[in-house]
Symmetry: none
Subunit: 221 residues, 2 copies
């Protein structure tokens, strides 16, 4: 988790940084809107904590100036009497507000809550089944399972869409690409192999007759 804290008061940045680092978040700071904008464009952050009132470039202007594709989950810090700007703020994709003065505990609770919704974890775990998307590894009982690339891709896609029935066409276009014109049944064969590799978890890949397949996190009846 990478955080960018933007506030002109050093003390506030310090407090937030201290608490955030206690949560193992990686924190960077900016003391004005202009340098924050530069940092946001140059680097990738997961969360932005942004003061509204700042000299040079205020928070709203920063958000308006920021290219859309660089927008990230944002928590606004604002003085209590800036209440009426709130409605305006929500239209800019702001996720939460904290009014100054705030208790660090409250801010951290909101950061955590936002992080929980935002952070798309790199690891999926279901009992003793563990998929690490970044490392491309699958483990059952700490034991590494060897999947072929296609098998891993299929499993990943199904897990990213867990509890949703995925059609064969969807799998073909997402994993093989739109230009692929092979046989549907190829998927079945890969599913067969995937299931056999997943051992006791094979029932989590359910056949949805007439549609395709679905990964489910419930135990099946």
């Amino acid at each position: 988790m990478n955080l960018l804290i933007v506030d002109d008061e050093e003390k506030i940045r310090e407090v937030i940084k201290e608490y955030s680092e206690a949560e193992n978040y990686i924190v960077e700071e900016a003391d004005n809107g202009k340098s924050a904008l530069d940092k946001l464009i140059q680097n990738h952050y997961d969360l932005l904590i942004l003061d509204i009132m700042m000299p040079e470039m205020d928070g709203y202007t920063l958000l308006k100036t920021l290219p859309k594709e660089k927008r990230i989950p944002t928590i606004i810090l604002s003085a209590r009497d800036e209440v009426y700007d709130k409605l305006q703020g929500f239209d800019l994709g702001i996720d939460d507000y904290v009014t100054k003065p705030f208790s660090p505990k409250e801010l951290m609770a909101r950061i955590k809550a936002l992080a929980k919704r935002t952070k798309h974890s790199n690891i999926y775990q279901l009992n003793t089944l563990e998929i690490n998307f970044a490392a491309h590894t699958v483990k059952i009982n700490q034991q590494k399972i060897n999947l072929t690339p296609k098998e891993f891709d299929i499993l990943s896609y199904l897990i990213e869409n867990k509890n949703i029935a995925i059609s064969r066409e969807q799998l073909l276009s997402k994993i093989w690409g739109y230009s692929y014109f092979g046989d549907d049944r190829t998927i079945d064969t890969h599913i067969k192999m995937l299931r056999s590799h997943l051992k006791q978890y094979k029932n989590h890949i359910e056949t949805v007759r007439g549609i395709g397949y679905k990964f489910t996190d419930e135990e099946n009846q």
Copy 2:
């Protein structure tokens, strides 16, 4: 968007309801934790607005009692001097707090913000009958019911058009496709099977003589 408002003060419920309905949200009310819990278990809502201080069963107890799979995005209403542990609240899946007295405008802004990041529901629920369109599953009393693809399609289409009579021709063209030239009566057979699978809910698929069929919300005479 279906909202459930839980508060023991009628005036507060009224105000929220009025504003919410102006946003085209469908609103239900509960005046205590116990009846809220019942409603949450019986039906499906997209968002919960919950007062903490209530007689009989307070908001936190309600959230703790609620089965995990029934948890939905939640906004807490609390009095300014109620110092609850907010961190604990966030663990219970609470998304936001609004302190009383609040301005309806602020609450609506928060509801809207939360609604924006909450995906619209994919589940239709009628008492203990639950259809998950994405997962392609039907449950009665949490028990999975196996429908064939055609049965599921027919049920889905009728529910999407609930309380509207659907002709056989409409069903044929929507579910079988325009190029189908089979017998009308095939539908009857599928309806027969569908009804038998729906058990105690079979009467919700009504015959509309001379036209076709209709799925109805209400108990039949």
